[in-house]
């Protein structure tokens, strides 16, 4: 164990005088019992009434006097009848007497019985890889040394036991998986290129190479995490077991479906997303139409003002709203009330929805405003000549022509809002609580998944929730597109 033995002997015999006579004490270093930063010493001595305890002194250099050393610890000598021997795992440092864990006083300090003739301690705090000089000094009841403190004979010990260090995480499976994903993308592109070339599509012969970087980036940065997340959903991965997870089949999905509050949080998520998208589209369209009116003065000023919520970083806006909606915030000051908007479940839900509407309207307004400007003006001129009213112009000309923009934008808006995290997290953190072990009143699926993953540390269960969200959004998108195409066809 000890590779480099110190020059000085590892045992010291000390003769010391006391009122009761002359006694012998032997201190030795137990090389076989060294541990990281610990050197074990064995002390044997002739019992004496004069000895009230022992002081252990140490230094990384040779010393003869306690002035040149540092006090390490003390071991008391006393009646141990009422004291307990405390096992090694529960104490700060391990000591033994009579071959058993040493007795401890109320403060946890080691005590040997008056009849004992030996004790051992694993001395902590030793510098590894260097000699440590250790002296044991018997003391009387007043703490005065029973040996000449100027003529100490320390023993030398040394520990070379290395520290236990966490090995670097085994990233090979991840790297192999990423490599395979990238390779698959390359093979796929090569195959497509071979097919195109074979079919005589000469123009496309370089297209696959141009596409390759984007496809590989997508495959490694998007597809791989999605697939990994899906795989996690079938494992028992959690914070204490990440990287060492095992396949558990559908157990996580069973946990999700057995969760109290599942249907409530799902319903609120849809209410949240639908009400937000409806308001974004409706208000965005109204504002876009108003701002698009001919002859409107100060159009740029209005647009700039209306764009502000979108121009300011979202988290700053949300934190500002959080402050303004407090009982002593600006909104209550303005109303002359002290309402706690975040206290009740329904008021908190209303508030988070309203704030998110405020945040999302400018984007929709800008998109629809652009689409409106692209509509041909002669269409409206012809309608005007034909005496079509403004409402009918909007109903039969503007709205149908905006559909091509409205459908994808509202679908995107739905997906974004469904997955919105910041607004709720920064406003309410999902609170107020409505039940034990349930999502909070303002939790949506996304904020609850965050809590499951990072507050409860249940990665597998959170992944199962995420798969469920993914399927919901895929299902909704498919239905939405199918429905809107059907409407377009009917139109």
């Amino acid at each position: 164990m000890t590779r480099h033995r110190p020059d000085i002997g590892a045992a010291a015999l000390l003769l010391f005088g006391a009122t009761a006579g002359v006694h012998a004490q032997q201190v030795s270093v137990d090389d076989a019992a060294q541990a990281y930063r610990q050197i074990q010493i064995d002390v044997s001595y002739a019992p004496s009434d004069a000895i009230a305890g022992f002081q252990v002194w140490y230094s990384s250099e040779a010393f003869e006097t306690t002035r040149d050393a540092e006090l390490h610890s003390t071991v008391s000598v006393a009646d141990t009848t009422d004291l307990e021997r405390v096992p090694g795992d529960a104490v700060f440092e391990r000591c033994w007497s009579d071959g058993l864990p040493i007795h401890r006083d109320a403060a946890g300090n080691p005590v040997v019985s008056t009849a004992a003739t030996e004790w051992s301690c694993a001395l902590t705090g030793m510098t590894p890889g260097a000699g440590q000089w250790i002296a044991v000094v018997p003391v009387d009841a007043e703490g005065a040394p029973l040996v000449d403190p100027e003529r100490l004979q320390p023993v030398v010990g040394r520990t070379d036991v290395p520290d236990e260090r966490t090995p670097p995480p085994d990233t090979r499976p991840v790297l192999y998986a990423l490599g395979m994903v990238a390779l698959s993308a390359i093979v796929l592109l090569s195959f497509l290129r071979w097919q195109d070339v074979g079919r005589g599509r000469a123009k496309s012969r370089l297209a696959h190479i141009y596409v390759a970087p984007a496809l590989i980036a997508l495959a490694t940065l998007t597809f791989y995490p999605i697939l990994y997340g899906m795989w996690l959903a079938f494992t028992n991965a959690d914070q204490s077991r990440l990287g060492d997870e095992a396949w558990i089949g559908l157990a996580n999905f069973a946990t999700v479906f057995a969760s109290s509050g599942l249907w409530r949080v799902t319903l609120f998520t849809f209410v949240w997303a639908v009400s937000n998208v409806f308001a974004h589209v409706f208000l965005g369209l109204v504002l876009a139409v108003v701002l698009n009116r001919r002859g409107l003065r100060g159009r740029t000023v209005y647009r700039t003002i209306l764009l502000l919520p979108w121009a300011i970083p979202g988290y700053i806006s949300v934190l500002a709203w959080n402050g303004m909606l407090q009982p002593d915030g600006l909104v209550n000051a303005f109303l002359g009330t002290a309402i706690d908007f975040f206290a009740g479940a329904n008021s908190a839900r209303s508030v988070v929805i309203l704030v998110n509407i405020w945040l999302g309207v400018p984007f929709m307004m800008m998109v629809l405003s652009g689409a409106l400007q692209a509509l041909p003006s002669n269409m409206y001129e012809a309608a005007k000549i034909d005496g079509v009213s403004r409402w009918d112009q909007f109903r039969y000309l503007t709205f149908p022509n905006l559909k091509g923009t409205l459908v994808p934008v509202s679908l995107l808006s739905f997906i974004w809002t469904f997955n919105t995290f910041n607004t709720i997290y920064l406003l309410t953190r999902g609170n107020p609580y409505v039940g034990f072990g349930e999502p909070g009143a303002t939790d949506t699926l996304i904020t609850y998944v965050f809590a499951v993953a990072f507050e409860y540390g249940r990665y597998g269960v959170a992944a199962a929730w995420s798969v469920l969200i993914f399927l919901m959004l895929v299902g909704f998108s498919w239905l939405y597109l199918k429905r809107t195409r059907a409407m377009e066809a009917a139109a």
């Binding site: 003390t74 700060f92 902590t124 260090r165 490599g179 370089l206 204490s240 009982p327």
Partner: protein
């Protein structure tokens, strides 16, 4: 060989002019694959060979340009001057992200050498392991008994998880009763005294409550503020074996009494949150507040003439209210390549002098026992008051359950303060939920 075969393949299937393009495409693809493989399979850079200066990364959560950060950076500079063989790179992490970021970086094998964590956070990560080893180094082998004995035993115990010592305690925090002397004087009410009972507290708060002033600013729905009342009524959060006892005798009575501060006596408001509590007190819209030393400087800066008293005795039980002790310490990562040096830094940052500077400048309550006898600390009535309050602090075991107890208690407070459940049922349900989670 493969290269030639591919060239031949392209040559045969395509018209003659495609040869050059085919070659280029294959070369690009091969190079990209080799480069990608090289990037993916390259081993991470080492931390430096033996004999080089040790480089320590230390994460802290002190605010940018705050007094805390100034003192911390000064301590780091002094450490580097005293240990030229060790270089330190301090990294500021937002407080709310610190723990999660530490977990993530540990799981990715990139943990900092030293990090500042609280006892609650230790309870949160104590059971987490990477490659079968805990995230933090057990500091027991690193400290001598004399070095360890410097610290307040309860603070030291708060840094233990499952027997291991995961941090060197550097500061402790607790709530105490702060009061606005001007409001007391204006109402002709005597200042709080150490022998005050809860009856005295209610009587004074009633006398002080007016149209624009609350008797006491108390975030009623936050369990951290409820715990002193809970312990004052003889209830406990955990039994001797650290099992949750949220429905222990006295807890329901404590909760009813606590909610009555608003419902019956009208001296507190359940709409008060943590931030509004501080604002109300700063703006003299609350005469008293239960708060920690961390807000003392803000109150002084607001021009308040402040007083401090230890928490009163519960009249019904004769027990003094015992706020929860929260302790911060410096931990060393299990992944650190320089543990001996990292422990030296942790010891330096929790040394007598550094703790003293933090205490004097920022009212951070020290854990070094000798500092309680330091003349500068003893002469400081605020520090002295908080140190006296810590003597009555409720010691809570540092376990996984401790971290989770707050959410269950918060839920119980929410459901009872809004009248959705009665106190007994809510606390029983909270206890059941705790046991259910711990069984998972």
């Amino acid at each position: 060989m493969e290269h030639k075969a591919t060239v031949a393949y392209v040559f045969h299937i395509g018209p003659g002019g495609r040869l050059a393009c085919g070659l280029a495409a294959v070369r690009v693809a091969l190079r990209a694959t080799v480069l990608l493989a090289a990037l993916l399979f390259a081993s991470p850079p080492g931390r430096g060979a033996d004999g080089e200066a040790a480089m320590l990364e230390v994460w802290h959560t002190f605010g940018t340009n705050s007094e805390d950060e100034r003192i911390f950076m000064g301590a780091v500079e002094a450490f580097e001057a005293a240990h030229p063989e060790i270089a330190v790179e301090p990294v500021r992490i937002p407080y709310l992200q610190n723990l999660q970021q530490f977990i993530n970086s540990s799981q990715g094998g990139e943990a900092p050498d030293v990090v500042r964590l609280s006892d609650t956070e230790l309870g949160r990560i104590g059971h987490i392991s990477v490659e079968g080893l805990p995230l933090l180094e057990d500091l027991r082998p690193h400290l001598t008994p004399v070095q360890r004995a410097r610290f307040e035993p309860r603070a030291l115990n708060a840094m233990r998880y499952g027997g291991a010592l995961y941090a060197i305690p550097v500061s402790q925090g607790t709530l105490a009763l702060l009061y606005n002397k001007a409001l007391f004087d204006a109402a002709g009410v005597g200042y709080p005294r150490d022998d005050w009972t809860t009856d005295d507290l209610i009587a004074a708060a009633k006398a002080l409550t007016g149209d624009d002033v609350l008797g006491i600013a108390l975030p009623i729905r936050w369990s951290y503020w409820f715990i002193p009342f809970l312990t004052g009524f003889g209830a406990t959060l955990f039994d001797a074996d650290a099992n949750p006892t949220l429905d222990s005798p006295g807890s329901a009575r404590a909760l009813e009494w606590y909610l009555d501060l608003e419902r019956v006596h009208g001296i507190a408001a359940s709409s008060t949150g943590i931030e509004t509590m501080s604002t109300q007190f700063q703006l003299s819209r609350a005469a008293m507040v239960l708060d920690g030393s961390w807000n003392w400087n803000a109150y002084v800066a607001a021009g308040l003439d402040l007083g401090l008293a230890i928490m009163p005795i519960v009249a019904d039980t004769g027990n003094r209210m015992g706020p929860m002790l929260s302790v911060f310490g410096w931990s060393v990562s299990k992944q650190s390549a320089s543990k001996v040096e990292a422990v030296k830094l942790a010891q330096w940052l929790s040394s007598y002098d550094v703790q003293k500077e933090f205490a004097i400048e920022t009212y951070m309550i020290p854990t070094d026992l000798a500092l309680a006898r330091d003349p500068d600390i003893a002469a400081n009535s605020t520090l002295n008051g908080y140190l006296r309050q810590t003597e009555f602090g409720a010691e809570v075991p540092t376990t996984r359950a401790t971290y989770m107890v707050f959410e269950q208690l918060d839920t119980a407070l929410e459901l009872t303060s809004t009248g959705q459940m009665d106190a007994r049922s809510a606390l029983e349900a909270a206890d059941e939920e705790m046991e259910r989670i711990l069984r998972q």
